[in-house]
Amino acid sequence: MADRIEKRIVLKAPVSRVWRALTDYREFGTWFHVALDGPFVRGQEVRGRITWPGAEHLTMTATVQRIEPERVFSFTWHPYAIDPAMDYSSEPTTLVEFTLEPVPEGTLLMVVESGFAALPPHRRDEAFRMNDHGWSIQTQNIAEYVAPPA
């Protein structure tokens, strides 16, 4: 069974541009919808407030694992840790790893998020709640972002 999620997308932009969008913490924040408090540094933790409507009370915490310029960027985190009253720090994390590869059209970007089977079952229920409240709103945002109202 899938203990991981894999995504790949071809972006019509050079690897250097995609690398910046992934690893510059301000740029990362614009598409990931989080206001991070500082840059990504290997081995260090970075925190930020989620910025999508309806989820602004939430904080994201990630620990940077690998930064290999224009090739690999990865961090571990507590995925969709949506209960502000809950201390997630003792729970297993998932690993998010981005890999970049130059292709004729621009950049092939892959993300693999792995380690879900080790998460305690109750975390999955929380994600369902998040689905109901946060993600439907978020999908609407994207539609507006990609195709702004005329």
Partner: protein
């Protein structure tokens, strides 16, 4: 391994290891993770421990991963808009 358990039978580690490239230790470790996630359940049958899939939990897990998968699709759509502008 999930494939082997998905026929609904309760299987021992020895049975799961038959014809598998994985060692018993590797299977046992994998089972512990799945058990921790509530996806696999175990029961004693005489001297053996048998493992069985929890279909409801497995369905939950799939739905959870689908949700996260959609989240990544959405995030990548925004990333695409950012780097291609």
């Amino acid at each position: 391994m999930i494939g082997r358990l998905s026929h609904g039978n309760a299987l021992s580690i020895a049975r799961l290891a038959e014809g598998s490239a994985l060692t018993r230790q590797a299977i046992s470790k994998h089972l512990r993770v799945l058990e921790g996630a509530g996806i696999v359940d175990r029961a004693r049958a005489g001297r053996e421990t048998l493992y069985r899939l929890e279909p409801t939990r497995l369905a939950e897990m799939r739905a959870y991963l689908d949700g996260i998968s959609r989240h990544w699709d959405a995030a990548f759509a925004r990333l695409k808009a950012l780097v291609e502008e």
